[in-house]
């Protein structure tokens, strides 16, 4: 297979990150009421452990991870559980089960957490600690960190890439983290290396973050760990997309039907590494994250270190509140972020940025025109699809063509939408087609299962009828035989 060390052009986008970076990273005030989502963003919720009235402290488990992609959830605050309720959340469903906790202001920490002597810990135990700490990937996808690390260990991956590219406009929480807590990132890299067994680690940062690069360099010099290095990338969106980043940094192309450990690499966000550092330093589970609060609709854009469960309304209030006419509330950046219907949505591990967008921050789409097949979309597509042909195949309902044009390989980065002169919402169409495809596959699977069940049922009935018949025959034979016998 041919290897491509860098990905096709992508887009050079206006970064729009300067306003929050003018403010130092600071802690957001802890609100009186926290809404802790049991799904921290991976799409798989934890099982609630507590009911209304329970007393909690910082680090008290409130949700147990049952599914493979769920993370354990802990109370980010000391206080009393007011209820376990369905509330608006950030995920695609729009709402989910949350544990609502009233803050008593004491910030008492649950007993029993102590710093971890991690270099002495066998990797499996360290993985178990990361798992029980409930750390999800903090880059936006919120996939459980331990699951990725365990997969890397299982496949004997050798190269860990820490993603500090942060390529999407508006988002700068990783930039703030690297500038102010670079030592945490480097310590986290060491912890993650120990956990996953990789031999080396590369911290990848886009070249438009010179302060972050300098800070990481200082931290690396202090740590003097020859296994960990720094690579700068040209600031092109989406340099931080996992497969594109691995191609650029590690020079490997991850097969479409496999995960990165299959080719000896793995990717974690720099924030995830810092969370691992926090874990070994305190022993405490993850209860907060850095989030960028920005956009023309917020008075003082800033990066804040906030408790998970803080409603976005409180995050905005912590940054001076709303100004002018906020139109859209975006969780994430301008290219892939999800527009939220309400600011009651709480902070989860998946939310790296909140953009309070006014008309000045958005571009009206205008009327959609027919595709003129100009190919601008294909020239910017990072995985190298032909979006115009893919859309045609989707519109024609031609499943084989849809598959051939790689619907499954679309990374939903939005580049094609961005350049389309006909204003076709390609990404939304692809997302919808994928969702429809998933429903269809689920239905087929269910239908197959139902058919199987039905056949088994028929067989069982036939077997029962047969058994009954034989019993009847035997009884009759016995009855007939009795007078003679």
């Amino acid at each position: 297979m041919a290897q491509r060390s860098t990905f096709p052009p992508g887009l050079e986008l206006e970064a729009r990150k300067t306003a929050p970076m003018r403010q130092p990273l600071r802690a957001a005030p802890v609100p009186p009421l926290l809404v802790v989502a049991l799904d921290q963003g991976s799409g798989d919720a934890a099982e609630p452990l507590l009911a209304a009235g329970a007393r909690v402290r910082i680090g008290t488990p409130v949700g147990r991870a049952e599914g493979e992609t769920a993370v354990a959830v802990h109370s980010p605050v000391a206080g009393v559980v007011r209820g376990v309720e369905i509330r608006p959340v950030h995920g695609p469903a729009g709402e989910g089960v949350c544990v609502v906790i009233e803050n008593d202001g004491s910030d008492e920490v649950e007993a029993g957490y102590a710093p971890i002597d991690w270099p002495m810990l066998p990797p499996q135990e360290l993985l178990a600690r990361i798992r029980s700490a409930g750390i999800a990937g903090l880059g936006g996808a919120a996939f459980p960190a331990h699951a990725k690390l365990a997969a890397a260990r299982e496949r004997a991956a050798t190269h860990l890439v820490l993603n500090g590219a942060e390529c999407e406009p508006w988002i700068c929480c990783d930039d703030a983290l690297m500038r102010e807590r670079a030592a945490d990132v480097v310590l986290g890299a060491q912890v993650l290396l120990h956990a996953c067994g990789a031999a080396k680690c590369t911290i990848a940062v886009e070249d438009d973050k010179p302060e972050a690069i300098a800070a990481v360099e200082v931290a690396l010099a202090a740590a003097a760990d020859p296994r960990i290095g720094l690579t700068t990338l040209r600031a092109v969106y989406p340099a931080g997309a996992e497969r594109q980043l691995l191609a650029a940094v590690a020079g490997v192309e991850v097969p479409h039907d496999a995960l990165p450990p299959a080719v000896g690499v793995m990717c974690q966000n720099v924030g995830t590494a810092a969370a691992a550092a926090h874990l070994v330093r305190t022993g405490q589970p993850i209860t907060g994250r850095i989030v960028t609060v920005t956009g023309s609709g917020v008075r003082e854009p800033a990066n804040v270190d906030a408790r998970l469960g803080t409603p976005i309304a409180d995050l905005v209030a912590a940054c001076g509140g709303y100004v002018s006419e906020p139109l859209r509330l975006i969780a994430g950046g301008s290219m892939t972020g999800r527009a939220l219907a309400t600011d009651a949505v709480p902070l989860t591990q998946a939310v790296n940025c909140v953009v309070v967008a006014t008309a000045a921050d958005l571009v009206a789409r205008g009327r959609e025109m027919p595709c003129i097949r100009c190919g601008d979309c294909a020239s910017v597509c990072p995985p190298g699809l032909l979006p115009q042909s893919l859309l045609r195949a989707i519109n024609a309902g031609d499943e084989a063509e849809v598959a051939r044009h790689g619907l499954a390989d679309c990374i939903e980065c939005g580049c094609c939408d961005y350049v389309c002169p006909s204003r076709i919402p390609l990404t939304a169409r692809f997302r919808a087609a994928r969702a429809a495809r998933k429903v269809q596959l689920d239905e087929r699977r269910r239908a197959a299962a139902a058919r199987e069940r039905y056949l088994r049922h028929e067989q069982r009935l036939a077997a029962m009828a047969e058994a009954e018949r034989q019993a009847f025959e035997a009884a009759r034979n016995r009855a007939r035989g009795e007078p003679e016998g």
């Binding site: 491509r4 990905f7 406009p169 497969r243 594109q244 191609a247 192309e253 991850v254 097969p255 479409h256 409603p311 309304a313 709303y322 906020p326 139109l327 859209r328 509330l329 975006i330 994430g332 301008s334 290219m335 999800r338 527009a339 939220l340 219907a341 309400t342 600011d343 967008a357 921050d361 958005l362 571009v363 205008g366 025109m369 027919p370 003129i372 097949r373 100009c374 190919g375 601008d376 294909a378 020239s379 990072p382 995985p383 190298g384 032909l386 042909s389 051939r404 044009h405 790689g406 390989d409 939903e412 939005g414 939408d417 961005y418 350049v419 389309c420 002169p421 006909s422 990404t427 939304a428």
Partner: protein, 322 residues
């Protein structure tokens, strides 16, 4: 009290490119060709444009109405004006007005709207109109004025173009030197056509620089013409015109940068577009060299339009990770 917001799918910003912007840039890039053509062959082109423009808009409006579509956004997008302008610069400037009108109507109605309008036409509409006129009215369509005629009655000065004179001359077993000494020839290509080609090259480079046209098709078309011309001229300079002549005669540059690059009817991927462009160039050269028409750009484009879906089938780029 929680605040509510509108929701909308990502991405939330777009570059704001529009189809009209693209089309008007193409018209702008066509300006040097128009200026040079008027300078070389007189103001006939302006009359052709005055006929083609309104007829094209009227046909577009009529067709959209008949198809039950809202005409306004499509009339504004400028694509139909590009079709009209390309056809107008391609035909001889002294073509009877009703032929221009007929050709334009064929281009818009039969070339574009019978297939579903903007974005759906398998053939380049301007070339559909051009080819229909050429096969139906070969005499009118090949009668070009003598370039840079001093003044007076343009009709009296019509004569063979350089490509035409080359074919006739070779038929009469004249030598290349004798043929090139003829009145239709300039220092490189046709006496008028070489300047038009230069102007089209300038306009084309502008389109390339603005990113409105990608390099694959023009380069492939030019290579498709120049390569066989170069090889055959090297083998038999007495029977085959040099590559420089081929590149600067007829509709070469116009075809390479403005006509073959119509994305709707071209191949899709970069690799496919190389094949597509090379095919146009090679067919045009073959028709010029051995065919029954002096130029072959229009037929080259139409034939490769027909081949584009097939090319697309075999040139899907490799997807990352496959």
């Amino acid at each position: 009290m929680a605040m509510s917001f509108e929701t909308s799918p990502a991405p939330h910003v777009i570059a704001g490119f529009t189809v009209p912007r693209v089309m008007f840039q193409v018209l702008l890039a066509l300006l040097p060709v128009a200026v040079v053509q008027v300078a070389a062959f007189g103001p006939g082109l302006l009359l052709q444009m005055l006929v083609a423009g309104p007829v094209a808009l009227a046909c577009e409006a009529l067709a959209l109405r008949a198809r039950g579509r809202d005409a306004a956004p499509f009339l504004r997008d400028g694509s139909v004006l590009v079709t009209a302008a390309l056809l107008a610069v391609a035909v001889p400037p002294l073509l009877p007005w009703w032929l221009m009108a007929l050709g334009t109507a064929i281009a818009v109605l039969l070339g574009k709207h019978v297939f579903g309008g903007l974005g759906s036409n398998p053939f380049n509409p301007a070339m559909v109109g051009y080819a229909a006129l050429l096969v139906s009215f070969p005499l009118e369509m090949t009668r070009w004025p003598v370039p840079f005629a001093p003044e007076g009655d343009w009709d009296a000065y019509t004569g063979a173009t350089a490509l035409d004179a080359l074919r006739t001359g070779l038929g009469q077993r004249l030598t290349m030197e004798e043929i090139f000494a003829g009145p239709a020839f300039g220092s490189l290509g046709g006496r008028g056509a070489q300047w038009i080609n230069l102007a089209a090259l300038a306009g084309g480079l502008y389109l390339l620089a603005r990113g409105l046209v990608r390099w694959h098709i023009p380069v492939a078309v030019l290579a498709g013409i120049a390569l066989p011309a170069f090889v055959m001229h090297a083998i038999d300079p007495g029977a085959y015109a040099p590559a420089a002549f081929q590149l600067s005669s007829g509709a070469t540059m116009l075809g390479a940068f403005f006509i073959a690059t119509d994305p709707v009817s071209a191949a899709t991927s970069d690799r496919g577009r190389l094949v597509y462009g090379a095919g146009i160039g090679a067919i045009a050269w073959a028709i010029r060299t051995w065919g029954g028409y002096p130029d072959g750009i229009a037929f080259g484009v139409l034939l490769m339009n027909a081949a584009a879906p097939l090319i697309d089938r075999y040139t899907v780029p490799r997807i990352h990770g496959h």
